[in-house]
């Protein structure tokens, strides 16, 4: 996912200046890390350089009494780039942390440092703690639907990791044999 495409999607509905785009981004993606101003401005400059966005107007600080503000809008080329990006499916690759969890289980067995069952138990507790935090966030009385859906996405991925850890925990003996003999 690129910040450039996300900013283009925000500009597609309405022109805006850097601070405005940052605020709209953070509202729409409440679970994502808030965008840094610097990142917004460098991305807008890159989009402008590539002809995907352009300056709509610049407010003179003398008129507004505030800092100089540049409002950006999407260009026709920007609309095309956004449409292309939106029409492409995302690679169906496993993106969860499970691959690192799996690597550690095998590494514990290969090195003989620690017990993979203990590691899986601790990892399970860490996952459950995060799932409780996400669930508390999504059931908070003021939670927006964006916040709920974003939390649901993370919850489903963590849940998939958990199920994998549960079945792996039951198959550790067989895995240990495989790791030892290979």
């Amino acid at each position: 996912m690129s910040t450039a495409h996300i900013l283009l999607s925000l500009l597609a509905s309405e022109a805006g200046h850097g601070y405005d785009l940052k605020r709209r981004h953070d509202d729409r993606f409440p679970q994502a890390r808030p965008l840094a101003y610097g990142q917004v401005y460098t991305t807008l400059q890159r989009l402008t350089r590539d002809g995907l966005a352009e300056v709509a107007k610049t407010e003179d600080p003398e008129d507004s009494g505030g800092p100089e503000r540049t409002t950006y809008r999407i260009t026709e080329a920007g609309v095309q780039a956004l449409r292309t990006w939106l029409s492409e499916t995302v690679p169906a690759a496993p993106v969860s942390a499970a691959s690192e969890i799996f690597a550690k289980v095998v590494a514990i067995m290969a090195s003989g440092f620690g017990d993979p069952a203990d590691f899986l138990r601790d990892q399970r507790a860490a996952h459950l703690t995060r799932m409780r935090e996400l669930t508390a966030a999504k059931t908070a009385p003021n939670a927006t639907l964006s916040a709920v859906l974003s939390a649901d996405y993370a919850l489903n991925h963590l849940d998939a990791d958990l199920r994998w850890m549960d079945t792996t925990a039951q198959r550790l003996d067989a895995l240990a044999q495989e790791v030892r003999t290979s």
Binding site: R124, T129, M131, R132, L134, T135, D152, N156, D159, R163
Partner: protein, 233 residues
């Protein structure tokens, strides 16, 4: 802040359902704090439902103790235990077990009517609880005329209408799709928090368990581990 004494405390529970059968519980220890939401998870056949049945007084253990305040539930008579289940405990199962001939409103009013509340007051309260669970519009429907999710919310309204000290829920979302399950869990958690009701929730679903403050995992008839922390409310 000091930890308040547990609402219900079970020690060393052993329970078999028949001679020659492996015991469903073998030394289970568990407590439920006032107002907390506790998830009990574990594989099928691990003994989690039997644990719920012992803590709610539906069955008595072969040995071990279940304390509810100063009372010993494991020594209480069936009459006393069913009185508690009508007044101070609420119980909900995977399939709501509503009375098929009664409307949603009458189902929810039933525990109050049994406790001697006037018909008018019972119906008023029942209406408020249906509202709280988002199913007021279904008040005049019978269980067969509602979706699974609506039926479960009516069952929860019925379990909560007496403002119980403890709610026992055995796989309350087990028969629902994920969106209906989420709506049921959100309504349950909000209602329990508002009423200060402690919840013992049995589930095999980690996403449902994540609604709880604390999780206890049952394996082979005993509590094998806990995560999360008791929340003092």
């Amino acid at each position: 802040m000091t930890t308040p004494p547990p609402l219900i405390e079970a020690r060393d529970l052993v329970k078999s359902y028949g001679a020659g059968q492996a015991p469903a519980l073998r030394g289970a220890i568990l407590h439920l704090a006032p107002g907390e939401i506790l998830a009990v998870t574990g594989p099928s056949g691990s003994g989690k439902s039997t644990l719920l049945h012992c803590l709610s007084g539906i069955v008595t253990p072969d040995s071990g103790s279940v304390r509810y305040g100063s009372e010993r539930l494991d020594q209480a008579t069936e009459t006393r235990r069913s009185e508690l289940r009508r007044t101070e405990f609420g119980v909900v199962f995977q399939f709501g077990q509503l009375v098929g001939e009664l409307t949603a409103l009458d189902n929810v009013a039933l525990p109050l009517l049994l406790a001697g509340t006037s018909r008018k007051k019972a119906h008023e309260s029942a209406g408020e609880w249906l509202e709280r669970f988002g199913v007021r519009g279904q008040a005049a429907l019978r269980p067969g005329e509602m979706s699974g999710g609506q039926g479960q919310r009516v069952a929860l309204a019925r379990a909560m209408v007496t403002r119980p000290k403890a709610l026992f829920a055995d796989e309350p979302t087990g028969a629902l799709d994920s969106l209906a399950g989420e709506q049921v869990m959100t309504a349950l958690v909000h209602a329990a928090r508002e009423s200060g009701t402690a919840v013992l929730l049995i589930t095999h679903d980690a996403q449902v368990a994540a609604y709880a403050d604390r999780e206890a995992t049952v394996r082979d008839g005993a509590v094998a581990g806990e995560t999360g922390a008791e929340v003092i409310r």
